[in-house]
Structures are given as structure tokens and as C-alpha cells.
């Protein structure tokens, strides 16, 4: 028995798809007692590995005197706040000290980055690209309003693996074993977003492009062909921070970035034409076809509203996969926004999911609208103020925290800024046995009416425009 648990735990960490025979039904119908013992064992194994390979975890565990993890709650003191991913001095990026940035990142990841060549590295984008080329990492960024960017050392392997999971969840049906076509779907992908970038969702876009189109990249239809530039996003973040501190007069723009001002302006100017082209593609060329489309709620609603205003309707094949999620904060969405999206797309169902940049897992919503926690993730509810674990029984609302056993390139335990509700004691009405999260999820910052310090993916273009406008004024 112990051996079996050990073996299953290893497989849960390394290859959960194989553990559950490529079936999402098996993933979410596993006996919860068995699952918990697999999870406990895997958690303990992963901690041992990461204690040796991730320096910041080592330091934290030593400081707290944690030497091994036995029970779920043992991991709670080791959870990282979201700030862990931006704990470097932002001035290192300004000064282009990518040697020191690499040293910092090296402490966050299980991989050895000490051989990275950063000679003549001249921008944040370039540094991340060198990491892409020379290491197993595929770093994702997220921007905040505090003048920094978060850098999360994800791995290429994990990103690719996740796409296999996405395919399974997008095209399989709970309760039915998968068909060959469901396992290897080839579809046109509609990507109502920028073509690429280092932000988490844009990295996913690139993965989708290769994994969902059967290798035919012409079947990937992005709204905007230009990438989101990391250095421009960094400027945007510094701009917001400087404005709030009354220090705009101190803000200096990297001359190399400033030299690209015309390039950025041209990019802004191209957008209306690109949008028209995009609508043409999705409403004329792809009408009636089976497609996959994903984006955050506000972007998807925006696209649908604009399309309907222009007199377009997409009318995709009914077995198309549409996925959305993410928060709606800062955007005025009408109550019927999902209906507007459905009307434009011509589909009956839109799938929803819940995830966050800091962990790899994405939790799909069932027909009841509950997000089912993936079996390789251990969910926690914490007291929102003290971060102490709340009981794992009954209906409990608290701060969401997750331990992702599949995370290999960085520590898998993170505390979120989200308030969620879990009914630990009642199985979901949909019939699945897995832990399920109530549909209503709120940011604590939203609840307290304070400004969130992260820039959501839906607000990316807006802050990017702010940075370009500032560059224009700066030069003037």
C-alpha cells in the first residue's frame, strides 16, 4: 500500500495525466481519502526536493525550523506571499544589472542559472529571452502599480504539459471517457489579444498556437499582431507608482526604450486596421467552424460588443470550445455580459476556469458553476488577516492559498489575494468527487475598496497606452 501511494505520489508530481489515464473524469472521481494520502506523500517529497534546490525556501524553512511536512497544514507557514516574486530591487532593472537579477532569480528556482550569459543584455525582454534560450525556464511576468514587475520562474516543460491538460478539459466531457478526437483536437484558435509577450496569458497564447492548431500556425488568429513589450510595461508600472508618490518629475526613461517611441506609436496606429481584419477573419472565414477561443471576461465582452455594434456575428460550430475567467474589477460589465458574448459567438456554452500566475493549475468550472480543484493541487482557506489555516470542514470562506504539487521549477505554495468559499463537506451536485470552489470569487482589495496593486491582463493595453503617451510628452 505504502509503495503504491509512494509511486502514485511520484506520478502525481511528474505526470498526473498518465496517473489518471488521460481522463478528466478519473481525475475528479478519485476517492478523496486516497487522494489526500497521495497528496500528503507528494507534498512531503516535493518539499524535500525543493528544500535542497530552492534557496529562498531553504532560508524560510530554516528560519521557521521546518524540517519536514506531514500534515496539510504543516505547509501553511511556508506559503509565499505574491510579493516573493518581486522581492528584488526594481532599480536593478533600471541599471540593467541582469547579472544580479539572475542571481536573484537563481534563488527562486530549482534550476541552476549560474551559467547564464548576460553579457551586453540591454532590456528586460532580452534578459528573459536569454533565459528562454539557455535554461529550462520560461519566465512569466506580471505588472503591478508599485513600479515593479513580478517574475515567476515557470518551466517550458510545465507550460507544454499544461496545454495537454487544457485540451483534455476543453474538449472532454465529465462522465465520459475521452475519444481520440477529443484527445488530439485540431482547431482554429481565436486569440482576442496581443500576439505574444512575457505576461502569463500571452505565454499561454503562444503555447496554444502550437498545441491546438495541429502545427498549422496560420490557424492562430490574434487580434493584434504586435507583442506586448516587457520594458514598456515596466515603464507603465513605474509611471503609475511615480504618479501616486508625486515623483513624476524624477522618472527617467531608458534612452533605448525612448528611441523606440515611433515604433510604439506605429503599433498604436495599426490597431484599428488589425481589429477590422480580425473581425473579418472570425465572422467570414471561420463562420460555422469548430474553434477554440479564450480570454478574460472584459476582453471577451469588449470584442463581442464591438462585433455586434459593427453588425457582425461569428456563428461558430456548436462544439467549439470557449473559455473565460479572471476578474472583472475596474471594468463596467453589464449584468447580461455573458449573454452578449454568447450572442456574438453563436454558442450555448462558455467554459469558465480559475487560476493564477503563481501556480500552474487551472481549475475548470462544472455545469453547476463550481470550480473543481485539480487533484495535484491542495487547496487551503486561510484567515484573511492572520493567514492561519481555517478548518477543512463545512462551508468556509477565507483567503485562498494553494499548494501545487506539479510545480517543479519553483515553490508551489502561494497565498492569493482572493476570497473564496469551499463547501468541504457536501459533494458537488454535478457528481464529481473533487473539492469544489464556489463560483463567486472576489479580490480582497476589491472588497476593501482599495486599489489593487496588480495590473490585470484586461488593463494591459490601457497602461501600455499610458506609457506611450508619457514617452511622447517626455520627449516634447
Amino acid at each position: 500500500m505504502t509503495d503504491t501511494i509512494q509511486a502514485k505520489a511520484r506520478q502525481m508530481m511528474d505526470d498526473p495525466i498518465a496517473l489518471f489515464s488521460k481522463s478528466i473524469t478519473q481525475m475528479h472521481m478519485i476517492d478523496q481519502h486516497e487522494l489526500e494520502s497521495i497528496q500528503r506523500t507528494a507534498m512531503s517529497m516535493r518539499f524535500e526536493e525543493h528544500y535542497d534546490s530552492i534557496e529562498v525556501l531553504h532560508t524560510l524553512a530554516d528560519r521557521l525550523g521546518v524540517t519536514q511536512l506531514d500534515e496539510f497544514n504543516d505547509v501553511v507557514p511556508l506559503f509565499f506571499p505574491h510579493t516573493a516574486f518581486k522581492s528584488y530591487p526594481a532599480s536593478l532593472l533600471d541599471k540593467k544589472r541582469f547579472d544580479l537579477m539572475t542571481k536573484w532569480l537563481n534563488k527562486q528556482t530549482s534550476y541552476d542559472l549560474s551559467d547564464l550569459d548576460v553579457a551586453d543584455c540591454d532590456s528586460v525582454d532580452e534578459w528573459i529571452e536569454r533565459l528562454d534560450e539557455q535554461t529550462p525556464l520560461e519566465v512569466i511576468t506580471s505588472s503591478g502599480t508599485t513600479g515593479t514587475i513580478s517574475l515567476i520562474p515557470k518551466s517550458k516543460h510545465g507550460a507544454r504539459y499544461n496545454m495537454q491538460l487544457w485540451k483534455m478539459f476543453l474538449f472532454q466531457t465529465f462522465g465520459q471517457e475521452p475519444t481520440e478526437e477529443q484527445l488530439n483536437p485540431v482547431v482554429d484558435v481565436i486569440w482576442p489579444n496581443h500576439y505574444k509577450g512575457k505576461l502569463g496569458h500571452l505565454r499561454v497564447g503562444q503555447m496554444i498556437k502550437t498545441e491546438f492548431t495541429g502545427g498549422d500556425e496560420s490557424r492562430f488568429h490574434a487580434l493584434y499582431n504586435d507583442p506586448i513589450d516587457t520594458d514598456l510595461m515596466f515603464l507603465a508600472s513605474k509611471l503609475r507608482a511615480a504618479a501616486s508618490r508625486g515623483e513624476l518629475d524624477r522618472l527617467v526613461i531608458d534612452p533605448k526604450l525612448l528611441a523606440r517611441k515611433d515604433e510604439f506609436e506605429a503599433m498604436q496606429a495599426r490597431r484599428p486596421a488589425e481589429m477590422a481584419e480580425f473581425f473579418d477573419a472570425i465572422t467570414r472565414q471561420l463562420s460555422g467552424k469548430k474553434i477554440f477561443m479564450t480570454s478574460a471576461y472584459p476582453l471577451m465582452y469588449d470584442m463581442a460588443r464591438k462585433g455586434l455594434e459593427l453588425g457582425f456575428k461569428a456563428g461558430f460550430a456548436p462544439d467549439s470550445a470557449i473559455l473565460t475567467g479572471g476578474g472583472t474589477k475596474g471594468f463596467e460589465l453589464p449584468d447580461n455580459f455573458m449573454e452578449v458574448i454568447k450572442e456574438f459567438l453563436g454558442v450555448d456554452t462558455i467554459q469558465e476556469g480559475y487560476g493564477m500566475s503563481e501556480i500552474s493549475a487551472f481549475h475548470w468550472a462544472c455545469e453547476k458553476g463550481h470550480y473543481h480543484v485539480q487533484p495535484w493541487v491542495i487547496p487551503f482557506l486561510l484567515d484573511p488577516e492572520t493567514s492561519k489555516p481555517l478548518p477543512r470542514e463545512g462551508v468556509v470562506t477565507g483567503r485562498a492559498a494553494f499548494y501545487d504539487l506539479f510545480n517543479e521549477s519553483h515553490w508551489g505554495g502561494v497565498i492569493s489575494g482572493d476570497e473564496i468559499t469551499i463547501d468541504w463537506s457536501t459533494p458537488c451536485e454535478c457528481g464529481l468527487k473533487s473539492v469544489h470552489i464556489h463560483h463567486d470569487i472576489m479580490r480582497y482589495s476589491e472588497k476593501q475598496g482599495v486599489e489593487d496593486d496588480r495590473i490585470s491582463c484586461s488593463a494591459t493595453q490601457q497602461v501600455q497606452n499610458e506609457a506611450i503617451e508619457f514617452m511622447k510628452e517626455f520627449e516634447a
Binding site: 516573493a84 528584488y88 532599480s91 515593479t148 508618490r245 515623483e247
Partner: protein
């Protein structure tokens, strides 16, 4: 009333106490709520409609004003005044101050009304002669001027740092012979009310009592604001507080309605290399620094947060600053609890940043803070932490710098106070730092010990609160008469 029950903020309109039409409000960040009369019911009564009704204030000699304020101060005794006790209880619930700290601010309240202190404020900041009557001046063109400082119908939006700001607001209103509408801050809901109710009890019909209105409404209540914030109702708004709330008020500003903005201010500290001259000096510098951090639990705009130390960034300099950091933390923990004590609550974002910073000591070292009792972050290079704007709850950041040029980075348009050691460094910096935004340079250890008898936030709020009226006499024999035909 126990500290956990909801409390009530009545409405006081020029001597009339209203306790009716209660509506409930939630506290800050979902904390304990309170009730207040529905302000919309009384909105028409808030402004002093007829400016002529201010004439009664000019029948009162200044010495009589001082008499009333002196009696008021004596009546604000914490031990015997139930309004003050209630304000203290409400403050405990509504604000982040530990009890001993808050209590000491109420115990000191009567001293703020000291007769000579108020005379000094009036004399130094305005000139009592201008308040009492017309002051003569003869200009070089020959005209005779008589200048007098009149009061104005003014709306006050004070900050809730303990009860002091409410007291200052009332004193300034009385000195300038103005008519005040005071919007009580949600984190100090009852101090202004306690003072005006005490005043009513000792001088119910006095003109200064009849020109004070105190109430609560939610900041950003646009229905009320659009009705009230108009030049026909009020001439000036004195707004303290955070960026968002002051910015919000600016939309009502128009000709005839002026804003006196005492807006968000950060403060800085600069310590010269002389601090390390002897062990004794180092201990004193650490103690004074701890005092600037700790007073009022770092809730004041003048509190020390980022502290630049001119010790250099080489190994020897870092050793010095790390040692200073240890001492500052030790002294901070040793300060008595009527000055400072463990914060009642701690900014969660800051706690998360501290947790993350602690994982790697390459760039920053953290001394203390494990129990959210306060901490000293010591930068190991010449920059403050990126989250310096969050520093609160007795968390400061010592930053080593190599040269005096670098310390100007400490000062921006939002900098209020700069605490400096030693005095010679202050003299060296005083002509330079104001160019970048510093408003007050003071001796290390005195950042949170200001007096009302000096300019504030680089303006003269008392002079701004007055309307400076000129009466002039022009004798055609002395002042050139324009009507005379030059060609004739």
C-alpha cells in the same frame, strides 16, 4: 459604552444638538460601524445662509475669545468630561491607536487651549492687531491703507490623527472669527463633537459657539457635496488627508470657493557621519531616530520612514548602518507606551513585503518585525525598498548613502518634514532641500513635536483662512488723480 459596541455621532449646528433620523455607516475597511443623523435631512441648515450673521463675531474682543478658550481647555479634562471620554472610546474602535497612546493625546488636549499658546499662534501667524481692527500702512505712492483680517464661511475636512487636528481646527476657526462646518473624520468621529458640546455647556450663547457646526457624512457623498460645496454657502474648504480625498474635493473648487489643502505628506530623515563619532553619540542618535519613528505609532505625516545615513556603502559603512539599525530597533522597543506601542493592526501588504524581503538578505536586512511589533529594514545599497510608500506600523528603512547629493532623492513634492542630524548638516541642506519640496527641517528627534504657532505644509493656513480686506484713502494731493485731464 464598551469598546466593541457601535457609537453615535450627533449633529451639532451652531448651538443646536440633533439626535434624530439616525442612519448607519460601516467603519473603515469593514470595521465597527456607527450611526449619525441623516445629513440630507439637515443639508439646508448646514450653511450660514446670510453672511451678515457673522457680524456678531466682530463684537467680541480678542481677550474675550482667549477667556472662553481657556475655560474650554479647563473643561476638556479627561477624568471629568464625559464627551471626551466618549470620544476616546470611539477613537479606540475607529482608529489604529493603542489605548495608552490615544489616552495620552486626550490628556494633553487641555494644554492645546493654553491662553498664551493661542495668543502666540494669533500673533505670530496673523498679528492680533489685524484680527482686532484696521491696521494702518502708508505706501510710497502716498495712499493710506487700513488692512483687516476677516473670517470666512469655511468647511473643514480634518484628518483623524488622534484628536489634535480637530482641536486645531476649532482653535483656528475661533482665532480667525470664521464660521466653521466641520466634517468629522471616520477615524476620529467624536473629538470635534466633544469639544463643541463642552463649549456649548460653558458658553451656549456665545458667538463662537454659534459659529461651529460639526457632523458626519460619508466623504464622497455627492448629493450633499453638490448642494453644500458652493460659493453661495462656503468660501473656503480646508482639506486634510489622503491623495484621493483631497483630489475629490478639487472638483468643487471654482471662483469664490477656495481650497486650502493640507494634503498627504511624507517625511524623511537624514543622518550625517557625525552620528558614528562615539558610542554615546550613536546611542543618542538611535534614540532620537526611534522617537521620530515611534511617536503616534508612525501614523503622523511627520513620522520618520525612510532614513538616509551618510555612512557610505562600503563594507565599513554597511557595518555602521547595520549597527545603527540594531540600536534604533532596540530604542524603539524601549520607548514608553504613552509614546508608542505595538500597533493594533498591521498593513497586510507591508507584512507580505517584509516576508518576501526576509527570504533573501542580499539587498536588505530586516531587524525585528516577526511579531508585527515594528521593524527596521536596513538597505545594503543606496536605495530604499520599492515599497517605501507602505512603511507604517513602526517600520522604517535605513538607507546608506555615499554623498550628500544622494539625499536630495529623499525629498519630493510630497515631503513635509525632514529630521536632520547634526545641526551643521541641517544648515548645509536648508537652502537646497526646499527646492525639491521639503517644507520643514528640524532637529532629529523633533519630527513629531511640531507647534501650531508656525507655518504648516509650506503655507500659512491661518492667513489663508482669513479674507484680507483693504480700506484705502487716497488724497488727490498725494496720490495722482487719474481723472484729471493730462492734456489740459
Amino acid at each position: 459604552m464598551s469598546a466593541n459596541t457601535d457609537f453615535r455621532i450627533p449633529l451639532f449646528i451652531r448651538g443646536q444638538l440633533i439626535e434624530d433620523n439616525w442612519v448607519e455607516f460601516s467603519g473603515r475597511a469593514g470595521g465597527t460601524g456607527f450611526s449619525a443623523p441623516d445629513i440630507h435631512v439637515y443639508a439646508d441648515q448646514l450653511p450660514l445662509r446670510n453672511p451678515a450673521d457673522m457680524a456678531d463675531l466682530y463684537q467680541v474682543p480678542f481677550e474675550e475669545i482667549l477667556d472662553v478658550l481657556e475655560r474650554l481647555g479647563q473643561a476638556l479634562d479627561f477624568e471629568t468630561n464625559p464627551y471626551i471620554q466618549e470620544a476616546y472610546e470611539a477613537g479606540l474602535v475607529a482608529a489604529n491607536y493603542p489605548s495608552e497612546l490615544l489616552k495620552s493625546s486626550y490628556i494633553q488636549l487641555p494644554m492645546v487651549f493654553n491662553r498664551e499658546a493661542i495668543r502666540e499662534i494669533a500673533e505670530q501667524r496673523i498679528g492680533i492687531a489685524y484680527l482686532e481692527g484696521w491696521v494702518n500702512q502708508t505706501l510710497t505712492d502716498g495712499r493710506d491703507l487700513r488692512i483687516r483680517a476677516f473670517g470666512a464661511r469655511t468647511l473643514h475636512i480634518p484628518a483623524g490623527n488622534g484628536g489634535l487636528v480637530s482641536a486645531i481646527t476649532i482653535i483656528r476657526n475661533v482665532i480667525t472669527r470664521s464660521d466653521a462646518i466641520i466634517k468629522a473624520p471616520s477615524n476620529d468621529p467624536l473629538t470635534a463633537m466633544a469639544i463643541v458640546r463642552t463649549l456649548y455647556d460653558i458658553a451656549p450663547d456665545h458667538p463662537i459657539t454659534r459659529h461651529l457646526t460639526v457632523g458626519y457624512w460619508k466623504g464622497g457623498d455627492e448629493v450633499l457635496e453638490e448642494k453644500l460645496y458652493r460659493p453661495e454657502n462656503i468660501e473656503k474648504i480646508v482639506a486634510w488627508g489622503g491623495f484621493a480625498s483631497v483630489k475629490h474635493v478639487t472638483k468643487y473648487i471654482q471662483p469664490g470657493l477656495e481650497l486650502i489643502s493640507l494634503d498627504p505628506k511624507r517625511s524623511a530623515t537624514i543622518i550625517g557621519p557625525e552620528a558614528f563619532e562615539s558610542e554615546e553619540t550613536l546611542h543618542e542618535v538611535a534614540l532620537r531616530t526611534a522617537c521620530d519613528i515611534g511617536v503616534a505609532n508612525q501614523e503622523a505625516c511627520a513620522s520618520a520612514r525612510v532614513i538616509y545615513v551618510l555612512c557610505g556603502t562600503d563594507a565599513a559603512g554597511l557595518e555602521q548602518i547595520n549597527r545603527l539599525g540594531e540600536l534604533v530597533y532596540e530604542k524603539l522597543m524601549g520607548l514608553p507606551n504613552y509614546i508608542t506601542s505595538k500597533p493594533k493592526s498591521f498593513n497586510r501588504d507591508l507584512a507580505e513585503y517584509l516576508d518576501a524581503t526576509r527570504m533573501d538578505d542580499t539587498f536588505y536586512r530586516i531587524i525585528g518585525g516577526e511579531d508585527l511589533e515594528g521593524a527596521v529594514i536596513v538597505s545594503q545599497f543606496d536605495e530604499p525598498v520599492d515599497y517605501s510608500s507602505l512603511l507604517s506600523g513602526r517600520v522604517s528603512n535605513l538607507v546608506p548613502v555615499d554623498s550628500i547629493e544622494k539625499v536630495t532623492a529623499a525629498v519630493t513634492a510630497l515631503t513635509q518634514t525632514v529630521g536632520i542630524y547634526p545641526e551643521s548638516l541641517k544648515e548645509q541642506l536648508r537652502d537646497r532641500l526646499p527646492l525639491f519640496g521639503a517644507q520643514r527641517l528640524t532637529s532629529l528627534g523633533y519630527a513629531c513635536s511640531p507647534t501650531v504657532a508656525m507655518p504648516q505644509d509650506a503655507i500659512e493656513p491661518l492667513r489663508r483662512m482669513c479674507k484680507w480686506i483693504v480700506e484705502e484713502t487716497c488724497d488727490p494731493e498725494k496720490v495722482y488723480p487719474m481723472w484729471l485731464d493730462q492734456t489740459a
